[in-house]
């Protein structure tokens, strides 16, 4: 019964979106972190999603695809260089290296993740209603 499989598919999406929200919160929390050298400055992280064709769940392989997080990718953009000679973490020339997090981009990402999460919860609720009504068939 593929209605049961929806719980697996939507559940995997909930998991992926919550990982995305976690990564966004980590980026926002470290938006103002500084470091002494560019190598150790905080870099924005982004999860990469991939469709997971489910053969192991016993469903037909091409009709249902969940989501899995393939990995967390670090932004290659250069960290922000700031002249702050009085800063305790400043290097020999008086520079500190901030993170390369784009706060506006992260906020948009957060809203998108939150909407996707809500949509998948709705899908699960609807499927549950349909299943409960099917169980009560003929009463």
């Amino acid at each position: 019964m593929s209605l049961f499989n929806i719980f697996n598919v939507a559940g995997s999406a909930l998991n992926a979106q919550s990982i995305r929200l976690n990564v966004v919160s980590s980026n926002l929390a470290n938006a103002d972190s500084v470091a002494t050298d560019p190598g150790s400055a905080y870099r924005a992280r982004h999860p990469v999603f991939q469709a997971a064709m489910q053969t192991a769940w016993g469903a037909e392989p091409d009709a249902s695809a969940g989501v899995r997080v393939l990995g967390v990718w670090q932004s290659p953009e250069a960290p922000a260089k700031r002249h702050a000679p009085g800063h305790p973490l400043a290097d020999g020339e008086g520079y500190v290296w901030g993170s390369n997090v784009n706060v506006v981009e992260e906020m948009a990402n957060m809203i998108s993740a939150s909407r996707s999460f809500q949509t998948n919860v709705e899908v699960m609720n609807t499927s549950r209603d349909l299943l409960l009504k099917t169980i009560a068939m003929g009463r």
Binding site: M1, S2, A51, G66, E122, V123, L130, K133, M137, G138
Partner: protein, 130 residues
């Protein structure tokens, strides 16, 4: 017992189809943010043609020795959706379109369920006579 075999008409298969379509649409919604994922849907006309015996899109068996294809309601009816606006990351899921299709599918599922329920009440009325 021939009467009871066909008692629910097409709604028996309709429930199966609606259940499988809900699975396909849920997969689309789950992958709304996955790069390169292509949204899919069931071709209802193809399924109906396959179920009602007219030429479907399934494999034709021209000799009796041919192995029968797997008996699946959605066999060969899965199609890729044409997006209104393709996105840059290769994903063709439009979340609102999928949500609307999912809601439509859920209503039709419940309609079939209601037809079956009413049929059961009718049969019970006929059996008990009250």
């Amino acid at each position: 017992m021939g009467f009871f075999n066909g008692a629910f008409g097409i709604h028996e298969n309709s429930l199966l189809l609606r259940g499988q379509r809900a699975g396909v649409l849920a997969a689309n919604i789950a992958n709304a943010d996955t790069p390169n994922y292509k949204a899919r849907d069931l071709d209802f006309a193809a399924v109906l043609a396959g179920e009602t015996g007219s030429a479907g899109l399934g494999l034709a068996r021209t000799r009796t020795a041919h192995i029968a294809p797997a008996a699946d309601v959605v066999d060969g009816a899965l199609r890729y959706r044409n997006p209104f606006q393709p996105s840059l990351d290769g994903n063709t899921v439009e979340a609102q379109v999928e949500q609307a299709a999912f809601a439509d599918n859920a209503v039709r599922f419940q309609a079939s369920l209601m037809f079956i329920n009413r049929r059961i009440s009718t049969l019970q009325l006929a059996i008990t006579g009250q």
